[in-house]
Symmetry: C2
């Protein structure tokens, strides 16, 4: 097992694979001057005051004070560089074509009756226009699960799409288009099999017309609670409609579909300095395999790619894609600056404990999960893809907000890389968890699905763990396997991104 | 039953108690020129173009075109007046002292071991630092409810305080103080009996230290999932701590407490033009009784009082209270204008269908629920009161956001007035629902707890329905009665007000 990881020959820092005692000779002439915590950085050369600290071949920041060879470098010791300019970024200068071949080119999915990407699960999704109906719907959902679902064994579950949007919001604000688009697109998620079912209150700002279109706002698809007679009337209206939809959904069967019908999302959360070494590049390798097989992969998290945006631009297939990338970055720069927040708001304390000094270092690791393939499209938050291949889907980096955005874009499955460990999951989209260090897999053997820790220690290659992740994706998407969190029925409330004010 | 309601003699409009056919003679010389929908306004005199439209004795707006006597006035026919100035508002000019006497001066509550207002329920509240833990905590909560709660019959329930805050947020943004204050104060809600229990992940931005203070961040109070061994380890850690807390909570008993130990909140949602005539003034009467008995009542919803703010200022007991009122209004004016939103974002389509033409008319009805007593304090969102009496607690008007803010302020019970009907409820605080029209009570007999419709029709007085509401408050606060929504176990997800960006 190796003691340190140096990513690029030009790097003047390495990270410790395990905690290193003081006095450890890492390489000839480099001796640790103090204990180095696991995943933290060690200076490989003397660095002058204001000298560049280089990892991944990029400048993470500048030394606030001189740093000696062998010294531990923590987050207090470097100053953030200015973020890369968004003007005239070169594009198309790094379009890789020799992607790894996937072991299989099909999976077992549910054909999408609305066209487009296939489903990975067969759920009755119950949409809501407004959070006011949530309490009533949750009681009804429990009854559906208990009284109706056992009669329809080919339906996996019923999922209530509760959310905090819909009323008490500035529905005509310029940015209201983001949450509205998200909720509209979630109605047509492939896992809901084209069956629309909406529970509405009747006096909310986000009307059923706005949510599903006037053509779908019919008594067959929409229950209006204010038109029901009492509590039992609400229950009966919901249960009656649910049973009609369940009957149709129960006829669905999995069939062999090409990889071009598979849409998955990549996300990371609770990252550490290994994330960019082990888990994220391995996930990126799996992403490259999916793309090579004709499938589509989204990666996201604007604030976590902002500092490496030129590495994404160089993979963009056209000026149009590059321009949309720059526009999404500008939108977020502005969103943060209007609230007097800067990009130092990310990383988290846990990231820092995990050795990530600042957002530049985090970004370099974060981008690794996108693999290396050409970027064919850039999406605004919660937009649906129109291309196949690798796509940057702009979203906040917050795990619980990125997930619902990608879900609105239609992902059938998410792969989630973590260094510190988080049990996050979505009710309607299974989430596979990949950890960056073996210690986390040992700590959470029955929460983490795959460990990429052996890549960090040098015992496995990125290709080996990447193939393992690819196979897990296919098995879980095909319903032959389940991530742990899905087995336990753990999932998070759906946080819809709303950049507009509430009223 | 009367056909129309004219509030003040100087009003030049009245509202229809029932739908009125064309040609109905309302009063000598006033004949309806068209069908007037229920709750909508009728011109009592000819109004010139740009003439004032007056209800509640205040100018709702100015006629865009001339309006004829007997004509229906809808929301398209009037132009909003400019909002009242916040500078140098007169205060203390309307300090009423002849408040109605409450029928009782005590209630049966749980004494607060931390001091301050008493509890209305005996819950194990499990706080969370971050939404990442929610899926795990929900599985654990179900197990607590099934495996542990039956052994502790004096504990009413276990409530997981899940929320969307805690990470992926700009935790150092100037406005982050609002959600952090809300979550900190919820930890000490009187219904949780002074027992702190926190589930944390371990790498989040909102640390357990920030949530409960370093002095309470101990292994006795805080489970850190990243320190647990696997899924079952997480379950055991949560269940073990929960059982210790349940044992202590199980010793609590209700006792006779003075009204000065009662803190309730008033809110309205899905309002119509009757809300300001029947439900809200009746609730205001009950509020006055509670204040007269020494208790404390919060009312809220900044955007819904903004246009009548001078009616609140004149009830403020000091310049200091008046100044904080103005400051809270200015904060919100600025919050909306920064996002290019104006106050026309409120009312909702349902409000308008219910006859409320604009935010001025809605505000006049909304303020009525505060009663008439002197205003002794103004709170920023989620602050805790330091005075007894009537208090303006600034919050958004969104039902699902106002409720959690008032809960953070410590209310033991909420009274919720509605015209259109909404089944909203909170898990930790029972919500009594009062409707403005008899039709809604007929439509939802087992969701609406009290109808104030008889006030609208003239069959009951505000004092009669107000006393009914007061008695219901005491019975529900004392655990002798339950609102319908609490019986069904319906409640909404806790939406914490976060005016700062997510990252």
């Amino acid at each position: 097992m190796r003691a340190y990881v140096q990513i690029k020959p030009e790097d003047n820092v390495a990270i410790a694979v395990q905690e290193l005692p003081q006095g450890t000779e890492l390489m000839p002439g480099v001796v640790t001057l103090s204990v180095i915590p696991q995943a933290h950085k060690i200076a490989l050369v003397d660095i002058l005051k204001d000298g560049a600290i280089i990892r991944y071949g990029v400048i993470l920041g500048y030394a606030i004070d001189p740093i000696a060879k062998g010294q531990w470098i923590n987050e207090h010791m470097l100053r953030l560089p200015t973020p890369p300019s968004l003007d005239d970024m070169p594009f198309g200068t790094n379009l890789r074509t020799d992607l790894p071949e996937p072991p299989v080119r099909t999976w077992m999915g549910y054909r999408n009756p609305e066209g487009g990407y296939g489903g990975t699960r067969n759920f009755l999704g119950i949409q809501t226009t407004v959070q006011c109906v949530e309490g009533t719907l949750n009681v009804a959902t429990e009854r559906i699960r208990r009284e109706l679902l056992p009669k329809y064994p080919h339906v996996d579950d019923v999922v209530a799409i509760n959310h905090a949007y819909g009323c008490g919001v500035a529905i005509n604000a310029p940015e209201a288009k983001v949450p509205i688009r998200a909720l509209r697109n979630i109605c047509h998620h492939p896992n809901f099999g084209g069956q629309l079912m909406v529970v509405s209150l009747g006096c909310e700002k986000l009307t059923a017309d706005m949510l599903v279109g006037p053509e779908n706002n019919t008594p067959e698809n929409v229950v209006v609670l204010q038109e029901c007679r009492g509590f039992e009337g609400c229950m009966q209206a919901i249960l009656t409609m649910a049973e009609k939809k369940l009957k149709i959904l129960n006829e669905r069967r999995r069939e062999e579909l090409p990889l071009s019908d598979l849409l998955i999302g990549m996300q990371c959360g609770g990252s550490d300095a290994f994330s960019g070494v082990s888990a994220n590049p391995s996930a990126g390798y799996a992403a490259d395999m999916i793309v090579q097989g004709g499938g589509t992969v989204l990666f996201s998290e604007v604030t976590e790619v902002r500092d490496g945006v030129h590495f994404i631009a160089e993979r963009c297939v056209s000026a149009e894609v590059r321009d949309k990338l720059a526009a999404e970055m500008r939108w977020y720069d502005n969103y943060l600056s209007e609230a007097n927040v800067d990009r130092s708001a990310n990383p988290t304390p846990g990231n820092k404990k995990g050795g990530l000094s600042n957002i530049v270092e985090k970004a370099m690791g974060s981008i690794a999960k996108s693999g290396t393939s050409p970027i064919v499209e850039v999406l605004s938050p919660a937009e649906r893809p129109t291309k196949h291949g690798e796509i940057f889907a702009a979203t906040p980096a917050s795990d619980i907000v990125c997930g619902p955005c990608q879900m609105a874009s239609g992902i059938g499955l998410q792969v989630f890389m973590t260094g510190r460990g988080t049990p996050y999951n979505l009710a309607a989209v299974p989430v596979i968890k990949v950890c960056s260090r073996n210690e986390l897999k040992e700590q959470w053997p029955d929460i983490i699905d795959i460990s990429a820790g052996a890549v960090a220690t040098g015992e496995k290659t990125i290709a080996e763990v990447g193939t393992e992740i690819f196979n897990k994706i296919i098995a879980c998407a095909s319903g032959q396997d389940q991530p742990f969190a899905e087995k336990y029925g753990m999932h998070n409330y759906l946080c819809i991104f709303n950049p507009a004010p509430i009223t």
